[in-house]
Amino acid sequence: MKAKQSLGSRLAEGVSGGLVRVLLIVVGLFWLVPTIGLLLSSLRSPEDIAASGWWKVFTEPSQLTFDSYAKLLENEDITSSLVNTVWITVPATLLVVIIGSLAGYAFAWMEFPGRDWWFLGVVGLLVVPVQVALIPIAELFGSIGIFGSVIGVVLFHVGFGLPFAVFLLRNFFAEIPRELLEAARLDGAGELRLFFRVVMPLGAPAIAALGIFQFLWVWNDLLVALIFSDSGSQPITVALQTQVRQFGNNIDVLAPGAFISMVVPLVVFFAFQRQFVSGVMAGAVK
C-alpha cells in the first residue's frame, strides 16, 4: 500500500495533477447526474415534472415532495410485485448457494469416475446465453403447469446460476488445506458434518461473493421474469416495464418505482462492496 502511494505521488509530479483532478471530477459528475436526475424526478409532483426539468428543484426546493412515493405504495400492482421480487430472489439465491456448494465440494474433494470431465462440462455451460433456453423452457414449464408462477422463475434462475456457482465454489473449496479436512475426518466427522462444519465455514468468503452476485442478478432480472411470470407473480422489474409504454405521462410512477427497485441492490452494494467486487471478478468468465 505504501509503495503504491509513493508511486501515485510520483506520477502526480509527472503529469499536471490539477488537470487529472478536474478531469476525474467532471467524469464523476457525468456518472452521478443521471441517477440524481432520477432521484429528484421521483421527488416532484407530476405537474412540476410536466412543466420543467428536475434541476428546477435547485432553485425551488419547495417542489420536493414524497407524494409520488406515498401514492406508489398504495398501488397494489407495485407493492405486490415488490413482494414477488423478494419471493423470487431469496429462494433463487439460497438454492443456488446450497446446491452449488454441494456440487462444488463433490468436485473438489470426492473421488468418482470422470470427475474432471463432468466439471469441465459444467464450466462449458458458463457462457451459454439464457436466450437459448427461453423457448424450450417455456414449453417445458407449460407442460408441467408452472409457467407463469414464481416457482418457474426461481427454477430458471437456479439453472442458469449453477454453472457459475459450481465453478466458483469448486475452485475455492479446492484451496482448503487438505490437513484440515483430514483432521476432521480423523475426529470421526461424517460427510455431511464435514461439509457443514468445515467446508461451508471455510468457504464463507466465496459463498458470500456468490450469494451477493446471484442475489443482484435475480433481483435485477427483467427478461426471465418477463417470459416466465404472469400478472400475479411478476416482480417489480416487469411491473415497471409495463408502465414504460406510456413513458412521459407516468414519470411519477416510473421514477419512484425505479428508485425503490434500486434501493435494495444499492444497499447490498455499499454494504458488501468487497464481496460484490470479488464475485464480479470471478464472474469475468461468465
Binding site: K4, L7, G8, R10, L11, G14, G17, V20, L23, L24, G28, T35, G37, L38, I49, G53, W55, A103, F107, W109, M110, E111, F112, W118, L120, V122, G124, L125, V127, V128, P129, A133, L134, I135, P136, A138, E139, L155, V158, G159, L162, P163, N171, F172, R178, L181, L194, L222, I227, V244, F247, L254, M262, V268, Q273, R274, Q275, V277, S278, M281
Partner: protein, 448 residues
Amino acid sequence: MTSATAAGGVKPPAVGKSRKSVTGTRRIVAALFLLPALVLLGALVVYPIGYSVVRSFYDQSGDGFAGIDNYKSLFTDEGIRTALKNNVIWVVFAPTVATALGLIFAVLTERVRWGTAFKLVVFMPMAISMLAAGIIFRLVYDQDPDKGVANAVWVGVHDTFTQASAFPKAHPGRQSPLEPAGGGAFITKSPVRAGETVSLPLVGVAPDLMPDGAKPAVAAKPQPDKITGTTWQDFTRGKGVGKLNSVDAAELGYAGMKIEAVKDGKVVASATAADDGTFTLPASADGALLRLPDSNFKEPYNGLDWLGPSLVTPSIIGAYIWMWAGFAMVLIAAGLAGVPRELLEAARVDGASEWQVFRRVTVPLLAPVLAVVTVTLMINVLKVFDLVFIIAPGSSQDDANVLALELYRKGFSEDQPGIASAISVFLLLLVIPVMWFNVRRLRREVRR
C-alpha cells in the same frame, strides 16, 4: 475496494495437486451431492440447447421439417437484418469504448487520493438493474431541452456558439407594409426616404417568448437626414391589433430585432432595434427597402433527437457504457495493482515520458486483463436486451433492434418459434469459441 480485489478470484485459483478423496467417500454419497446440480443443469440448460437446435430445423408450427429455412431468414428477414447490423455495431463499439474508459479511469485514479470514491461512483451502476438504468436514461435523453438533461446541456453548448433568434413565428399582420422576402425574411413593399418614420409591425410571437428586456413600443420621431422607425408586436392582448399598423400603449417593441436596408440586393446599412422597438438608419439608406432578415425568425434550436431512428443505437450504447465502464475499471485496476512498480520506474529513469510509460509498459503488461475484459463485455453485449427494450421508444424500436430483442419478439409475440430458435442457436454458436477457451484453460489446471 482495491484491497477487496486482491481477495477475489482475479488470479485463477491453483487447482492442481491430484486430490484423493479425503473422506474415502462411497460413490453413492458423491452422487447424492452432485445429483441436484446435475439434474437441474441437465433439465434447464443442457436439454434446452438440444431442443433449440432441433427446433430450429422445424417450421413455425413445429410439425414439418424445414431444413435450413429458419437460418436463411436470419439473412433475409428485414427485422433480423437490422438486428444483426446493430449487434455488429454494439460488439465493435460498446466493449472497446468501455474497456478504454476503464483503462483510463484505472490509471488516473491511482494519481488522486480520493480515487476509491471515484471508483465507487463509476462502479455503482453495475449494482442496479438494466431496467432502472433504462428508465434513468429515458429521462436523460428526453427530447425537450427543458426536461432531458442531455439536450439541456447540448442546447446550452450550442447556443453559446450560435446566436439564438428571438422572434420565432413572427409574421406580418393584415394590411402590413411588409411582405415575405423568401427564406423566412420580410421586406417593405416600398422604399423608405430620409426624414421619414417607418413602421415595421409584425404579429405572432407568443407573449412568453418575447425578449425579457422588451418595453412598450414607442413611435419613432422623424429626424432629418436619417430614417427612423419602430418594429413592434402589433397586437394588444384582449383587444386584437388595437389600432392597426400603429403603436398602442400595451404593445411591446421587438427589442434586438435586426433591420437591414437593401438597395439592389445589397445591404447598405443595418440597425438593431432598441428595447422600445425604435431604430435609426443613416442617410445612406435613403431609397432602400428595409428587410428583417431570416435570422430574426428561426425556430429556437431544440437539441438532438437522441432516441430518433439515427441516434438511438449510439444513445443506448452510451447508457450501456455508463453501466459497464466501472466493471472494466475495477478489473483493470486489479491488474494494475499487480504490475511490478520497478518496471515503470526503470522506464522513467531511462527518460521515458508518462505517455511512453503508459503506451510501452503499462498497456502491454495489462494486455491479458484488457483481453479478458473486452471478451467478457463482448459476450455480454451479444445478449443485450433490457436496455434496448426499455430505452428505445416504440417509434424507433425497429431501428434499435438487436438479436436478443428480435428473438423475444419472434418467439413470444409473433409466434415464430422456429426462427426464434435459429436466432438462439446463432447466439450460442457465437459464444462457443469462448466456451472452448474456458474449458481448455481449466483442463490444463485440473490436469496439472
